[in-house]
Symmetry: C2
Subunit: 510 residues, 2 copies
């Protein structure tokens, strides 16, 4: 018990509430933190990956039940026109006299998982509590421990813990906190929780088109992504676009003994390696023809805002064990450009599964990020042209025997869906209201970032709904989102509730 | 039943026995084929991969029991000096008055398996019977079907079916056939079945050193590898050497979101692709410095023997769906050179497991084949020097934080064991005895091949035992050895029994 008391005394940040509103929210949260954490743990235990549609549906139902219990009005699942897709979850809170309506967005689906890659003791859907970051040597804690005290540096590990069930949870608890504290929002609140963000939001436009009237609002607040690497909170005015290509290069029709055929029958892994290597030079410049051609350069105010960002490069390089970045220039300079990243590649086996074979095929999954000016289909096409220029016959299906006998090199390219980048001007009046409200919850100035390196389908919001969203991330930056060992720092969840409650309370005040 | 009779009538090869001895062996086999196939099926069901030491031990025990039931003398497990390794299985048959002793070698271990890659309905250790090659659209057959008739074109699918439990089985059944037919061998027979061939025979030299006296013989007949692609049988006078390198290129210490960090934090998959691509030019020439320097060119008689081999290139290209081979020249020309083959590579996930990440590492497994003149450790070293020349810091362990901060690019290289190539002169008198005996079992001339593209640790045989082995393969060439869907054509098993029995009976006759 003594140790716990000492720990409690060492949390000065808990006493620096910036507004009376945030102080009330925080007292409510402290009084309810055991229940909140247990409720979040149970929420994380519901599988939420695209390959498990039943799990996604159960996740949506859990959100619906939670909103109903909180008295949220008009709760419903918004289904796409295409049947059988993960629905969005909707609810609303009308505020008498409010002149503004704000939609709060998060997504409840998570990235695909390979549970064999998670650390010993972890499983994507069996949430665990730790006393810090496992990557830095933290220990597992029994869930009972939250009954005596909870440190903001403790973490919860599970798929979606940060990306983006944290957003769903913080938005709903922010509203619950205001309600329980008797604080009236200054806006009409609408909740919108998407279920296909990690799959590239293929049906979001359909949902927007179907429910255009229901979703009418002045702006959307997007709760997704990480805070700044320094731990400082940020408000973000844009996102990069995103699309993917999956490349399959073909070798012999059956796997061959590498001794009996090696170096005579071509090896598709070598051909794919050569193709991938041809896409970038040693300085990290993408060599695909025209790759950077459509880019609209940053505006003066965007460049000024970037200049205000604290430098993080040296810290990140140390933390990640990287001596030399792929490109010169700051991290943010590079996130203002389109990118080409190998998400993964595979051919036959390695390690214990390595055998002496010429593989039948080699596969690479490529991620293309886009900035203002890029069009996702045009960007895909540039890469496909590049593949052709390397001497490959490009097809969308596995090659037929006739195609095999007609071409020296064959690459199957499967294009994913995609969307363009989106930017909200940094002087947008509604954006300024968000910044002001976020600021009221913080002990130091929020950072204002012109664009996030990551992607959200905000282009579709602007195109279909005519609104310009503002992004307010809450997750710790070292959260392993999109990978094994995803986690959320509990203090980030708490701060997220403060910030979102502050937006709900302060946005509409002139 | 009518259909079966028709099928039987269509097997002319069954009536072309070349010698009375082979005719006796064949009648015995026909009378016993149901029992033989069932016994082989049960033998294949015992797991025989390096990762399963208990399975390997059970396989060795099964061979031991079989030899004991056949009355083979001095049956025993030969253990390496290093404890806990898969033993070799030994037995012998003394022939009164015989002046020659021949050891018959096969290996009972198989290549590693990834059972998820096997065709639907197949599993590496649940043998299945088919009416032909599944790759050409064959159907599964119930095992009961062998009770009415057995076509030589039927196949059995399982790990080791060809490589090399087929060798073990054919050797033992050849002896059983002679014994049951009352035919006396002309030689003393020793059986030697290795359990670590697919792991690179790391303890074979130890076993040879420990049991040098027991293993004394005039020559060894190696039953492993495939027959010629035309289906014709071959006798082989050499093998390539073999060794491996596993390369791991390191990226960030934790997986990173490709949007937030892509193209600033280097991607290890791209770096590995570039490294692999640097190892070969577009003409398939390995660009590692000095890679071909030590090669001893083929002798005149070897070149003449190669000129006698039927061309297979056009057939193979059609069969494998390859329009353009990696290198110019015939298949056998290229198998007379050292090679570099990517056995497999992996980084993060592809397909459904692809996520938007910068992977923490990328791994490639590389196979190096060696010809006469090459030294396996020197060949490894050349590749390692090449990796250094591409700007990589080479280490044998995962890099420390200090190493990460001291080097721009890091590649861990794990060297496997290995062995050199071996060649027996084509006019070797003992080799000629093998050729003569093989020939007696065949309806057409056997092909004489100076060296196999594949590898066996025959260098160690010559070095430790002072003998020059001769290889007599029996498996069909399209057997998928080393890969998923490994299979043996039943006719090849039968022919193997004929050939091996002929060697046992005829080798010692002057």
């Amino acid at each position: 018990m003594k140790k716990t008391l000492l720990l409690l005394a060492a949390w000065p940040v808990m006493t620096t509430a910036q507004s009376p509103i945030v102080r009330s929210v925080r007292s409510w949260r402290q009084a309810n933190q055991v229940r909140l954490i247990e409720s979040y743990r149970d929420f994380l235990a519901i599988p939420n990956i695209a390959a498990d549609k039943a799990g996604l549906r159960a996740t949506a139902d859990a959100i619906l039940r939670y909103m109903q219990a909180e008295g949220v009005a008009d709760t419903r699942l918004l289904e796409a026109a295409t049947p059988g897709q993960p629905p969005a979850v909707y609810g609303e809170v009308k505020t008498p006299g409010a002149r503004h309506t704000v939609v709060f967005y998060a997504h409840y689906d998570g990235q695909p998982v390979d549970s064999t890659k998670w650390a010993a003791g972890l499983h994507p859907f069996r949430p665990r509590l730790t006393d810090g970051s496992l990557a830095k040597g933290a220990n597992y804690l029994d869930w009972q421990r939250i009954r005596s005290a909870v440190s903001p540096d403790w973490r919860i590990y599970a798929r979606g813990a940060s990306d983006d069930k944290a957003g769903v949870f913080a938005i709903l608890q922010a509203y619950a906190a205001l309600k329980a504290s008797g604080i009236q929002p200054s806006i009409n609140i609408k909740f919108f929780f998407e279920g296909e963000e990690e799959a590239g939001s293929p049906h979001l436009a359909e949902i927007f088109d179907r429910y255009k009237d229901l979703l009418r609002a002045d702006t959307w607040v997007i709760c997704d992504g990480p805070v700044h690497q320094t731990g400082r909170k940020q408000v973000i005015f844009g996102v990069r676009g995103d699309t993917h290509l999956e490349l399959t290069v073909y070798g012999p029709k059956r796997p061959l003994h590498s001794g009996h055929y090696g170096n005579w029958i071509p090896n598709p892994a070598m051909e794919l390696a050569r193709l991938l290597a041809s896409m970038k030079d040693e300085k990290g410049q993408v060599t695909v023809k025209g790759f950077y051609d459509d880019v609209i350069p940053l505006s003066k105010s965007e460049r000024e805002a970037l200049a205000q960002m604290p430098p993080v490069e040296a810290q990140l390089q140390r933390e990640l064990g990287i001596r030399k970045p792929e490109r010169t220039g700051s991290l943010n300079d590079n996130l203002s450009l389109p990118s080409l990243n190998i998400n993964g590649f595979a051919a036959a086996g390695v390690g214990e599964k390595s055998a002496n074979v010429i593989p039948t095929q080699a596969v690479a999954s490529i991620d293309l990020r886009l900035v203002a000016g890029n069009d996702w289909q045009r960007q895909q096409q540039k890469v496909i042209e590049h593949i052709r220029m390397q001497g490959f016959y490009v097809t969308e299906q596995a090659p037929t025997d006739a195609e095999r006998m007609a071409h020296d090199r064959i690459c199957r390219v499967v294009r994913s869906d995609g969307y363009n980048a989106q930017k909200t001007p940094m002087d947008d009046p509604l954006g300024r209201r968000v910044v002001r409200a976020v600021q009221a919850a913080l002990p130091e100035p929020a950072l204002l970032l012109p664009t996030l390196g990551g992607s959200l389908p905000l282009f579709i919001f602007e195109q279909r709904l005519g609104i310009r969203p503002i992004t307010v991330p809450i997750a710790n930056h070292d959260n392993n989102q999109h990978a094994e060992n995803e986690n959320i720092r509990i203090g980030n969840l708490w701060d997220g509730i403060d910030i979102l409650a502050s937006i709900m309370q302060a946005f509409g005040i002139d």
